[in-house]
């Protein structure tokens, strides 16, 4: 053989050896690991098309990747994005993607694909709830080369990375081939799992994506493929059934109802972890309707609310009292401002009410309007157990100081509708989010009759919100957000109640899992059951 040939052969052999070693190494890691993760989530019973659904859960995260991901320390790391740079002006972002990600239909996850996705989300005629923020904000996605592009915005937008971390990327080829209606029934993404089977109302089943190797390394030691063979999401809603199914092993992971925490913890087959959620519960006032336009009156309610007791009675102590608009699990929360916020002080509440003229004129034990007519306080509460429990406690507390509250139970759809009419009084609600941007939705002057259920906005607040959303400097943004929080505490369009905990029960047989400190979700891409190889 000639020298060259020998060299080539040698190289070939080395290459083959290296590849096979890689394969062995791969097999080694995967050996003995597998199994099917079975979870229960009634909310997952929704369309799998990211342009249709406003609720994203297990199934979406399993099959679709995003550009960025939130790490455990609340910062954002790259998922599909490899390197990126935010322009100083804050209205442009340049991104270079990793070059080895592929959709499960074989097409590459490249700049064109991202462009297609972002533009579709931003298209007002598509009407994608998830892309709501991009509409009118995204001006252009400029493709530089195969794996890099620039995003140009209408104005500086501080939470851009956060926003992009929630935009799920689908295969444009597949979407265009199948059309929107069919795609939701046969979705194609580039995530750790491949869609296998959907039985609406019953369950959805996924299997491991063998090509997936791009899990964010800051979050996962092993970048992929996942160890689990399959993921099954059952659409179960009944709390007690879910608990029982976890105990028998029919479920691998489940939420534990607060009142059953002791049982679950004592159970040797189940590991339980508690984690604060990125959600809050609050009471909202319709500030467009008298007398709820009076900030002092609203604050009286805040003083009248014993959040500590509420947490015990309605949440079995599995929640934390809240005194400001943002929970500790959302960046922007400032622990220093709690001290000056209204805490439980019934005397103060009574003093304010007396001063405003709400005294008991007719001697029936309940306060009346300043003009002497009976005071009516309709309290709109949702019909589910959780709402009723909280509602009853609040009514008891407020009645103690003479506020004649009347609960009006309503199913969720009716309640939503009612708050858009501006004829409601006070209501109980929640939000769950990962960025202070959420406050803009609730106090936006243009969203009264929409998500601004308190019908509250002032020029000063709007200015602050806009400033926060466009401030690219973390430190100054944080300060502005603190100002916003203090403003909202002072004006009290909401009474902030609590931050619930999520209790996750996991079968002891599942190895190598963690709970994400930011949203309480399960990090399971490196998890596995021990199986015989």
């Amino acid at each position: 053989m000639s020298q060259t040939k020998k060299l080539l052969t040698f190289l070939l052999v080395i290459m083959l050896l290296a590849m096979s070693m890689n394969v062995f190494a791969q097999d080694d890691i995967m050996a003995g690991k597998g199994g099917r993760l079975v979870v229960a989530d009634a909310d997952s019973d929704t369309s799998l098309d990211p342009f249709v659904t406003s609720w994203h859960s297990w199934p979406h995260y399993a099959i679709y990747p995003t550009l960025f991901s939130q790490a455990e320390d609340l910062t954002y790391v790259g998922y599909l994005a490899d390197t990126w740079e935010v322009a100083e002006s804050g209205d442009a972002l340049s991104v270079t993607l990793i070059d080895y990600a592929t959709f499960t239909d074989g097409t590459p996850v490249n700049a064109e694909a991202i462009k297609w996705n972002l533009e579709r989300q931003a298209d007002p005629e598509v009407g994608s709830p998830g892309g709501a923020d991009l509409v009118g904000l995204l001006t252009e996605v400029e493709v530089i080369d195969e794996y890099s592009f620039n995003i140009k915005l209408e104005r500086p937008f501080a939470p851009l990375i956060f926003l992009l971390s929630g935009i799920e990327i689908v295969s444009p080829t597949a979407y265009e081939a199948m059309g929107p209606d069919e795609f939701g029934l046969n979705p194609v993404g580039a995530g750790p799992f491949i869609f296998k089977e959907l039985n609406t109302n019953n369950y959805v089943l996924f299997e491991r994506n063998p090509d997936f190797t791009w899990a964010p390394e800051e979050i996962y030691d092993h970048p992929g493929p996942v160890f689990l063979d399959e993921l099954q999401v059952l659409f179960l809603g009944e709390e007690q059934t879910i608990l029982a199914a976890l105990e028998t092993g029919e479920l691998s992971v489940a939420g534990i109802p607060a009142q059953n925490l002791a049982d679950a913890t004592a159970n040797p087959d189940i590991d339980v972890e508690s984690q604060m959620m990125n959600q809050i519960r609050y009471v909202g006032f319709n500030t467009s309707k008298a007398p709820w336009d009076n900030a002092e009156l609203r604050k009286a309610f805040s003083y009248a609310t014993d959040r500590v007791e509420l947490v015990t009675l309605a949440w079995e102590d599995q929640a934390v009292p809240l005194y400001q608009p943002l929970p500790p699990t959302i960046w922007g929360h400032n622990p220093d401002i709690d001290a000056d916020a209204p805490h439980y002080d019934p005397d103060q509440a009574m003093a304010i009410l007396d001063e405003l003229g709400y005294v008991d004129a007719d001697g029936d034990g309940m306060r009346d309007n300043p003009d002497g007519t009976p005071w009516e306080v309709p309290f709109t509460v949702g019909s589910d157990d959780e709402w009723r429990r909280q509602g009853e406690v609040l009514v008891a507390q407020w009645s103690d100081i003479g506020i004649p509250v009347q609960i009006e139970l309503m199913d969720f759809g009716s309640m939503l509708e009612l708050t858009t009419t501006g004829t409601h009084d006070i209501f109980l609600s929640l939000y769950g989010y990962s960025d202070p941007l959420i406050l803009t939705y609730f106090f936006d002057p243009d969203r009264k009759g929409g998500s601004n259920r308190a019908w509250y906005s002032t020029d000063e607040l709007t200015e602050l919100l806009l400033a926060a959303d466009s401030d690219m400097n973390q430190e100054t943004r944080y300060e502005t957000i603190t100002q916003i929080s203090e403003y909202l505490i002072d004006q009290s369009p909401w009474v902030f109640l609590l931050v619930p905990n999520t209790l996750t029960g996991v079968r002891a047989e599942l190895e190598n899992w963690k709970i994400h400190p930011a949203d309480g979700g399960l990090l399971y891409w490196n998890s596995y059951f021990e199986v015989d190889s």
């Binding site: 009142q259 009675l313 009723r388 009853e392 009514v395 008891a396 009347q406």
Partner: protein, 295 residues
């Protein structure tokens, strides 16, 4: 005083007055029925005089005493807010008993004549009436309730009427079936030939034979009515929390089955007692009123 004449399987009621006093006498002989009547009366009176029977305010919460099992201080335990369950059961009885009895009786009042007439006349009358019943049966009750609450607001009367509405087809179809099978028999034909009015025929000849199954359905449906009442309340119709009511107490206890079973147990057992008592009384009534039954 004439004795009623049982013939074949159909009964003629000839003298009402005689039967009436005789029935009361026979009912009193029935020990089980009397006991049940006493139990029912006790429950009813306890509800009416609830405030005197228990030192606790059904709405008063007591956080340190929450979720405690039955004890001397709290015979039926306490709930998630520390409220005394016995006092809530007693006070709740007022509303739940009204819901249970009034809705079912209203339903019977409307459904039975409908069914009797429908089966008796047959033909188009029967067809139309029964098709209307089909529509009611097919109708999604929840949608109707949400709609009603939005348009008419909520109140106890609406709640009772709404529940009654959904039980009407049961009474109508039940009575109609029997009416259909009896309209050809000799007694009815005979009565018709002498010109007896429709009402007379229906009440004297046909209704007595439908009485037995009607009593069964009525006594059993009371629990269904109470529980339906709770579901409707959650949609905004009827009673709102924190007013106690057996049905909603049951729902509150649903998530606490394992660790606070008494929350759902006591209202549940009370409903059972009421239904059981009603059933036994019903049996007694039927035995007493129905001369076909041998004493």
């Amino acid at each position: 005083m004439k004795e009623p004449k049982p013939t074949g399987q159909v009964v003629e009621l000839e003298q009402h007055r005689g039967l009436y006093t005789q029935s009361i006498h026979e009912f009193r002989q029935n020990r089980g029925a009397v006991i049940s009547l006493i139990v029912l009366v006790v429950i009813i009176f306890s509800s009416i005089f609830a405030s005197y029977l228990t030192p606790y305010d059904p709405l008063q919460r007591d956080t340190p005493a929450r979720l405690m099992g039955p004890s001397i201080q709290h015979l039926m335990g306490t709930d998630t807010l520390g409220r005394d369950i016995m006092s809530r059961v007693l006070h709740g009885g007022k509303i739940s008993l009204q819901i249970g009895f009034l809705s079912i009786f209203t339903s019977a009042l409307v459904g039975i004549p409908l069914g009797l007439l429908s089966g008796y006349f047959g033909g188009i009358v029967d067809n139309i009436t029964m098709r209307v019943m089909d529509v009611i049966l097919a109708f999604p009750g929840l949608v109707l309730i949400i709609w009603l609450v939005a348009i008419l607001g909520s109140s106890m009367i609406m709640l009772i009427l709404a529940i009654a509405f959904f039980f009407i087809p049961t009474y109508a179809r039940l009575t109609r079936g029997i009416s259909l099978s009896l309209r050809e028999i000799e007694y009815v034909l005979a009565a018709q030939s002498v010109g007896a009015s429709t009402a007379r025929i229906l009440i004297l000849h046909i209704l007595p034979n439908a009485l037995a199954p009607i009593i069964v359905i009525t006594t059993l449906s009371i629990s269904g009515a109470i529980i339906t009442g709770a579901s409707l309340s959650f949609l905004g119709l009827g009673v709102s929390p924190p007013t106690p009511e057996w049905g909603s107490m049951l729902s509150d206890g649903r998530g606490y089955l394992r660790n606070a079973w008494w929350m759902a147990f006591f209202p549940g057992i009370t409903i059972t007692l009421v239904v059981l008592a009603a059933n036994i009384i019903g049996d007694g009534l039927r035995d007493a009123l129905d001369p076909k039954v041998r004493k």
